[in-house]
């Protein structure tokens, strides 16, 4: 393989399984993956809104669907994904302002994203049910 000085974009396989990622790296990776997941889940969300606005019986079906434990678990998962994406995004915005860019601060804020994210999920679950 020729020695190239151009930056290499690592494969997902390498990132996930071959390189030990620090917590800051994980927050960044999950930020990306959660974004993709959220985009896909928008399809279901838009369809749900559409159905819920269609008629009385459709609304009843849409709301009764949210009572099923399977749907609730999926919803909580989506809320966690969203909370993580939002918090990691805010973390990036703050880093853009050069706040907390030192290694210790960055690692601390990365752990905070995980912790606060889980807290938000618990709070949401409590608020909803």
């Amino acid at each position: 393989m020729s020695q190239s000085r151009r930056p290499k974009y690592l494969s997902l396989y390498a990132i996930a399984f071959q390189i030990r990622l620090p917590v800051t790296g994980w927050v960044s990776l999950i930020h990306r993956l959660s974004g993709v997941y959220l985009l896909i889940s928008c399809i279901a969300a838009v369809c749900w809104i559409e159905v819920s606005l269609r008629s009385v019986s459709d609304f009843a079906m849409a709301t009764s669907m949210t009572k099923s434990p399977f749907v609730r678990v999926a919803l909580l998962l989506s809320i966690w994904t969203y909370a993580h994406h939002l918090l990691a995004g805010i973390r990036f915005l703050v880093l853009d302002l050069d706040v907390g860019a030192s290694r210790q601060a960055a690692v601390a804020s990365a752990w905070a994203v995980h912790g606060v994210g889980l807290l938000m999920v618990v709070l949401s679950g409590w608020l909803l049910w």
Binding site: Y9, R32, G35, C42, I43, V46, I49, L93, L128
Partner: protein, 119 residues
């Protein structure tokens, strides 16, 4: 300030413009979703009529539509960044971007219909 240079290279909302757009849309999305979630969680609509009246009220529908469009732009730029980083083939990237564009346009269209169609 950022020098706005006219370039013939199409960047697909990349560069500084993409960076800024992602931040702006992200901010709106974040604020809207937290407000909306709290509003619905703390005062859930009692029935179909209440739900429909709430969501289709002009100011709510307008803000929700803007939210949909913000998500479309935000997601498009995000996916574009992902394709740029991991997809080497120009053809594959073009196809993926086209599919993503169609998806987000479809999402906004469906949302608009749900919010504004005369029914």
């Amino acid at each position: 300030m950022v020098a706005l240079v006219k370039s013939s290279i199409p960047r697909g909302q990349g560069g500084i413009r993409g960076w800024l757009l992602q931040r702006l849309t992200g901010a709106y999305i974040g604020i809207f979703s937290v407000v909306a979630f709290l509003a619905v969680a703390m005062d859930p609509p009692s029935d179909f009529a209440a739900w429909r009246a709430t969501l289709r009220a002009p100011h709510v529908a307008a803000c929700t539509l803007v939210f949909g469009m913000a998500v479309a732009v935000h997601a498009w730029i995000g996916m574009r960044d992902i394709y740029t980083d991991y997809v080497q083939s120009v053809l594959a990237k073009a196809l993926l971007l086209a599919c993503t564009g169609l998806l987000v346009i479809w999402l906004v269209a469906r949302l608009s219909l749900a919010l504004f169609s005369v029914q």
